[in-house]
Chain length 443, copies 2
């Protein structure tokens, strides 16, 4: 029997992830100790309500409501409470007491990340957060370490399982958004108030974290452009499929030269978009997550797996714990968060992408020419144009009330140019309505 | 301008990966220095032939044929020569001189890994090898660090791009094995002597490395069971597709309780196998690689990307270089390779999997019953049985020379039981021939 130095581990939060972390730590303690080179002693679990039911259960003698006392004397503090406060205050306290800290708290990192990283750097502590993005999927460490010698160009991520489940159900079973959301709620994939997921707030927090890491630049949450999936219709999903696309809620960040100013910047954004059915991300079904990375040297990489779940996420937390423990055994200061690149975050209006625009237009001669010149005037280049009803080419319908549907695919255009085009379309007399505007990514 | 401590980097090998590493190191030196927290000075590149053409070119004043002198005084040595010697001797020399070492040499690691890791541990040096498996795909670091708190159950990998390209061409374009290999050679995906790839030697080296890491156990290369793709026919690929499968050369390692002895062991093996067309690995096309990991807590994870290529692989090497440099700045001993689990490697005969067996049988009454009882006698349970010609159920053909084709899918059985079954089939009088025996994985 090898004698290890014992490290004192304090756990803040006894929800689903916390209960699994505690359980695995107690059950696999010897195995983890041999990997870490140090004993991992769970000294306590701070919870709000000692008597709440937990699955798996946590031994009663470990539970406490006094998080502050628990932190004192801990070598490593694991924060799984969620929310901004008291998580922020407790983590700062842990860092200032010299502990290394592990968190899965994406909201906290996206909002107060720089403050926490600065505090850790001041005292030579380390902050681990593999579980904050992509649940069980190792994505933080690959970005931070494995790709440290490369230049990331773009990340396209499916980082919210709830919305992917909903869109996947619409795609595969023809459910409406409402009924898919109801199913997600029933199965426990959506919370009673699903706003954070379906409006893209959760994905926005995650992309802020990924973008900061990938581009060595602090990306404030407020600078992330965000649209949720509430406006996505079954009709859009179905016509996307016919055109060879799938609708996914994408978290995107990319390095970008601003066409207007020439500034080398970064864009971070979340919105539902079309991706080609042949793209690896199109095959990500159900509540799974995946992060697709394009790097200058490495080319295209994808990381796929369970994006949530108490047991799954505990894998990432325990991986961080073993890393933190190894570092404790080694000693020495940690690696500071790197934000040396300090790139400018570009507003959504300066971002270029492709679009698919569906219009209802009056069905009469000359309509195609009118629409085409409207796009051209606004410097948006049309790549494909499909007219699903109507007989423009043959001279138009004789019925003045007839409506044709046009689906227009564009080349790359800026959001600003596209917005101006859509505004002009809405007031153009041949346009009955702008049915949908969707971005196309992954080409 | 921040002043960094300068680290001296020696590069051994100026082939495709080496030339790209040198070029990126010279071109992006400042950026890498800011990420590493240390200047990275390329002090020289040891090559066999100074005058050989290189793409990208390496400045002439950096080239030397004297690897031994180059190593002296280097802080970090990068070995990209390939082959066992002189790579082994030079790496040991580098380690013993106190340098951290980085290698992409899978043959060396699979053959002399323990010797190198021991030497590094003796002197407190670190050995990095992200580029040895999966090219640009971060797979070593996720296994070693991110999953350090979890228990890996099984890994299914497509880790050889050449064979995946060949099987993919057979699958998607109906090419024969010979013509697909010829195309691979033409495109530079297969070497003049393709033995290492198509006979599975390359994949066997990689799975030995992955299995050692995943199961914290030294897996000698000799203990890896290996079959190449040379016996795979277009007919097999096509009938697999009809049955909803894809043929892939899989590198497999898994934790396994020996049914006979109850020993908790590990199996590592390489062979062509059927996987369901819906499995994420089935969508890995061309020369791409992917590693699919099943872990107790994390569930299923997949890592996908370019498995080879000079530029792509240089991404993994430079990631290791930044990690090694950060560790130099921090100081302190490295993390030793972990082989504490010390599990037993089980022989292929004790491995259980599923099988698909195709038989030509005489087409007469009672054949199905005879075949079914033969399987049963050998304790191999039949899951599906498809008779593609013949009329057994209706009383058999009146033509005594008529042949029926049977495709039999089994439940899990040991390799030993399956081998005994196949031997018995071959001598059974109703069996005209055993057309093919393929393993089925990923279910």
């Amino acid at each position: 029997m090898i004698e290890y130095r014992n490290l004192r581990i304090a756990l803040l939060g006894g929800g689903s992830v916390g209960a699994h972390v505690a359980s695995l730590l107690l059950e696999h303690g010897d195995e983890l100790a041999s990997r870490a080179g140090a004993g991992l002693e769970l000294v306590g679990v701070a919870v709000r309500n000692i008597d709440a039911p937990r699955n798996p259960p946590i031994p009663a003698h470990l539970l406490t409501t006094d998080a502050e006392s628990l932190i004192l004397g801990a070598d490593i503090v694991i924060e799984l409470m969620g929310g901004l406060e008291p998580a922020r205050t407790l983590l700062l306290q842990a860092i200032n007491s010299g502990a290394d800290v592990i968190t899965a708290n994406k909201a906290l990192l996206a909002t107060h990340g720089p403050e926490l990283f600065d505090a850790a750097e001041q005292v030579g502590a380390q902050l681990y957060y593999e579980a904050a993005v992509g649940g069980a999927i190792p994505i933080i460490r690959p970005l931070r370490d494995s790709l440290a010698g490369d230049r990331v160009k773009r990340i396209l991520g499916i980082v919210n399982g709830t919305t992917n489940f909903i869109l996947d159900l619409m795609e595969r079973e023809g459910s409406s958004l409402e009924s898919a959301l109801a199913t997600a709620t029933e199965l426990g994939y959506a919370e009673a108030d699903p706003t954070a997921d379906i409006e893209g707030y959760d994905a926005a927090q995650k992309v802020a974290i990924l973008a900061s890491l990938a581009f060595h630049t602090n990306i404030p949450l407020e600078s992330v452009y965000r649209e949720g999936i509430t406006a996505v219709t079954l009709e859009q999903v179905e016509s996307a499929r016919k055109a060879g696309y799938v609708v996914k809620l994408l978290a995107i960040c990319e390095r970008l030269v601003d066409a207007e100013t020439g500034i080398d910047g970064v864009s971070a954004r979340v919105y539902p978009a079309l991706i080609p059915a042949t793209h690896p991300l199109a095959a990500v079904h159900g509540v799974n997550n995946a992060v697709f990375i394009e790097a200058e040297a490495a080319g295209s990489l994808m990381f796929y797996g369970a994006g949530a779940g108490g047991l799954e996420t505990s894998s990432a937390v325990l991986g961080d714990l073993v890393s933190a423990a190894r570092r404790h055994v080694i000693g020495g200061p940690g690696v500071a968060e790197s934000n040396h690149a300090n790139l400018q975050v570009l507003p959504i209006a300066h971002v270029t992408t492709r679009y698919q625009i569906t219009l209802h237009v009056v069905d009469e001669p000359g309509v195609l020419a009118a629409i085409a010149s409207l796009f051209s005037e606004h410097h948006v280049s049309v790549e494909t144009l499909t007219q699903s009803t109507g007989v423009d080419a043959g001279g138009g319908s004789s019925d003045p009330s007839a409506t044709a549907t046009l689906v227009i695919g564009t080349h790359e255009a800026t959001e600003a140019a596209l917005a101006a085009t859509v505004t002009a379309l809405k007031t153009n007399k041949v346009v009955r309505s702008v049915v949908s505007v969707l971005r196309v990514e992954g080409l």
